[in-house]
Symmetry: C2
Subunit: 225 residues, 2 copies
Amino acid sequence: MDTIKVILADDHVIVRNGIKILLESEGEVEVIAEASNGQEAVDKVKQLKPDILISDIRMPIMNGLEATAELKKVSPDTKTLILSMHDDEEYIIKSVECGASGYLLKDTTKEEFVKALRSILEGHKYFSGDISDVLVNGYLNKNTGGSASSSDSGTMVKTDYHITKREKQILQLVYEGHSNKEIADELGKSIRTIETHRFNIMKKLGVGNITELIRKIDSEPYIIS
Amino acid sequence: MDTIKVILADDHVIVRNGIKILLESEGEVEVIAEASNGQEAVDKVKQLKPDILISDIRMPIMNGLEATAELKKVSPDTKTLILSMHDDEEYIIKSVECGASGYLLKDTTKEEFVKALRSILEGHKYFSGDISDVLVNGYLNKNTGGSASSSDSGTMVKTDYHITKREKQILQLVYEGHSNKEIADELGKSIRTIETHRFNIMKKLGVGNITELIRKIDSEPYIIS
DNA sequence: AATTAATTACGTATTTATACGTAATTAATT
DNA sequence: AATTAATTACGTATAAATACGTAATTAATT
């Protein structure tokens, strides 16, 4: 019987080392490569065609969800298992939308970890905890209704804030701590324009002040990527 | 030859598991207990008297630096090795001030990890990378001058912002996203008082807006603890 | 080409926060 | 008891941001 060939993507070496030793102690999992950012993960998946990519979400250069979405193009048979500290529904749903086959928290035991890998290799989805079936079924129910029901997507979990390209640009600068004046100068636009965008962004994201905004982006970084 | 007895403190099981397996694969290190927060770490150190506590900084209930400082009282012979993602000088200096014997980044190899443990067990300090000697020597130079030089502590690394008790209280509420009015209501004080405190706090911390403030506290959480 | 979405920017109004200085009162330290 | 530090709060002034609405222009989509 062949081993399950996996690639690990996490920006911390010690975490990758720890996971590698954890999994290979089982004997049926082989870590064939490691990546410290999403882009490196995609490149190595393309090159090595592993069975499963195990990926953190928050990584430099390209995050784990984007890398997951990218896999369809470079290695359609490779599946992704997300391993994250975040248990927000938005993250979980977003990972499903990006095509991930599983989602585990970093609190996961070795036993469950290996069980998840086996399950995914057999073509199933694997989401840890009680929220797994609820979320996956909820997501499937949302999509079973066809295109008519896509207008109701906001009623379940909000994952698309409909932030335009320009809004993301300005949001990034706000996130970095720039004042409206600084942003106006940088983009060569009127400060009134920036204020308008800013108002629209805050409304779309449902936040009331800059602190909430920063927290929201910290927890959902795909908003600006 | 006895093994080095260590306790691991990190709020993520998978990290603790990974480190445990990593270290015990060497044979000369034995993980005798684990803790998921600073308080639990202190309690287990008190009970089990390990050689070394390996601790993350950011943990719930009590952070790793506070736990380090607490060890003198409960197990004077136990040394602490901080294992963190943060390489800010403030963190490193603060760990020394709390009595830590070493500081490694989570980017550390197994070899260096074990080397650090051996070194610490022999009574030495162990700080990873080129910054280690510079920082430790800089810190010792600061203290070698005696009490007369303590007035110059701000010229090297700013670790004490001299935030008063009341200021910390208000800072916590600002950090949580409350407006000045909300804070004034909650504390039963004039909004003008809150504004005054807020101005003083920002000045002490050297930040120009709320975004910078949040980032600073995120990277130096002891400011408000 | 028509329609829709995004971008730009203003009017009007208000709120909120920043900035500096002064000073009385209270609490803590010497 | 005297001194120092912290807390409270105001005057004065200004800057910055929030909030809502309107609308022209440009870009993208159908």
